[in-house]
């Protein structure tokens, strides 16, 4: 091992501790004996089921919309491309609560598109669909940045496919998508983890109605006041899912 300047040791340990100690505390204080009853309680099951449903829907929606956009950004040139790229990745750094306010101003009853949606009989704020939309808003960028996966595919392979008789759709399905798949899978996993943990945009745009919009993170926050053990148990579930996602990503897709 190389010798290291002592100056670095203290901050490095503090960094590891800053992340590590709270996580250890969470596991340490967990009501292990009552974990099973806590997790099968109706509130927990409801929140967990809703969270899974919403986050998977948000991931599917992000995939269906984000992958085509990623392809367009990687493979074509159009006016305003840089602006579009900046805009769709903005939610990665935007405070989620701001996203929630923006969603209300767009899709709310008196929002930009609210009247049109109402005419179609669609209500989004404070509904389960709204929770999915809020999660999609913050998670979609993780699939759009999978654009890098498309960039790694040599365009000359697509040229070779065309000369072999492949129409653009066939080349996309059989050459480009399979070669970009590792990046798209990693993007989808990160997108799902982000959607599952979404709090700020969801509570702002969809509220916190048990069984409709009260996802796991919201349930944790609300349980903390009157039932800390339940909050810890639910937090453990989110932690376990996150760790599982990270391990799967490292082993299979990031090659680390």
């Amino acid at each position: 091992m190389r010798s290291m300047p002592r100056l670095l040791l203290a901050p490095a340990l503090a960094a590891a501790g800053l992340i590590g100690v709270p996580l250890v505390a969470l596991v340490w204080r967990a009501p292990w004996g009552e974990l099973a009853p806590q997790l099968v309680s109706s509130t927990a099951r409801q929140a967990l089921g809703l969270s899974l449903g919403c986050s998977l829907s948000a991931t599917a929606l992000s995939f269906a919309l984000g992958v085509p956009l990623a392809w367009l950004l990687a493979r074509t040139a159009f006016p305003g491309q840089r602006l579009v790229r900046a805009l769709v990745t903005l939610p990665m750094v935007l405070p989620p609560v701001v996203g929630g306010v923006a969603l209300l101003l767009a899709f709310g009853r008196r929002g930009l598109l609210g009247a049109w949606l109402a005419a179609l009989g669609v209500t989004l704020p404070f509904t389960t669909a709204g929770a999915v939309l809020a999660e999609t808003f913050v998670a979609l960028p993780f699939l759009v940045v999978a654009e890098a996966g498309f960039r790694q595919v040599d365009p000359r392979l697509e040229e070779a496919a065309a000369v072999l008789g492949a129409r653009p759709g066939f080349a996309l399905r059989r050459v480009t998508l399979p070669l970009a798949a590792p990046a798209l899978r990693a993007g989808a996993a990160l997108c799902w983890a982000r959607a599952l943990g979404e709090f700020g945009a969801t509570i702002t745009f969809a509220g916190s109605f048990p069984g409709r919009t009260q996802t796991l993170p919201l349930a944790v926050y609300l349980a903390l006041e009157h039932d800390p053990d339940a909050a810890i148990a639910l937090s453990l579930v989110l932690l376990a899912v996150s760790v599982a996602a990270l391990v799967a990503l490292r082993d299979r897709w990031l090659g680390a």
């Binding site: 040229e159 065309a162 000369v163 072999l164 492949a166 399979p178 070669l179």
Partner: protein
């Protein structure tokens, strides 16, 4: 029979070339880097569009800007072999060869049977299950040749097929290529910078420089 009058600009290159290749003929394009040899092939394959001129293959017009005709690469009966092979890295050698057949609507099982036969004809049947990453340069080029030939093109384009190979593999593959070209019924254009390859494989040579043919 290929009849082509090519005119296009690509970067600083200004290509102007007349080319006629009869069925059964192999024309070698020789010349230094930047002479426009690969650009010529890419115009013939449809990867590049002409600015002016005309390409016709067996009487069918493939590209003629003046009349607004452009047939995309996937609808041309053209096979192409690239210097760096460009095999699909995620597919086995067999599936690489079957690719063009499936793209043209063959069912997978049929495509694989024909692909197997095509690999056998170039002496590469034992490579069928290998991924391109596991093949040597010479092996990969045999697979690439089978992939180009299996769809039955009327025009075969070979872009430096023997470059980037070691001496032994080069001689072996040159002999194989010679056999395949003698059996090939269509027109063939071979790009090479090696006069020996041109002499061994081509029925005639055309020397290019600066985007034009030298007389």
């Amino acid at each position: 029979m290929l009849e082509a009058e090519l005119a296009l600009r690509l970067g600083t290159l200004e290509l102007r070339l007349e080319l006629a290749v009869k069925a059964g003929e192999v024309v070698a394009l020789v010349g230094p880097n930047g002479a426009g040899k690969t650009t010529t092939l890419r115009a013939l394959s449809g990867a590049l569009r002409l600015a002016a001129g005309r390409i016709a293959l067996d009487g069918r017009v493939l590209d003629e800007p003046a009349r607004g005709v452009f047939v995309p690469p996937e609808e041309r009966a053209v096979g192409m072999v690239f210097q760096d092979r460009l095999l699909f890295p995620h597919l086995s050698a067999l599936d690489n060869v079957a690719f063009g057949l499936e793209a043209r609507g063959r069912r997978r099982a049929d495509a694989r049977t024909l692909a197997r036969e095509a690999l056998e004809r170039v002496g590469a049947l034992e490579l069928a299950g290998s991924r391109p990453g596991a093949l040597s340069g010479g092996q990969a080029q045999r697979v690439a040749l089978a992939r180009a030939l299996v769809v039955g093109p009327n025009l075969l384009l070979l872009d430096e097929p023997l470059a980037a190979l070691d001496a032994g593999a080069r001689l072996e593959l040159r002999a194989e290529l010679g056999r395949q070209l003698r059996e090939f019924k269509g027109a063939a254009v071979l790009v090479t910078h090696d006069p020996d390859d041109a002499r061994a494989l081509a029925t005639r040579s055309l020397r290019m420089a600066g985007g034009r043919a030298e007389s």
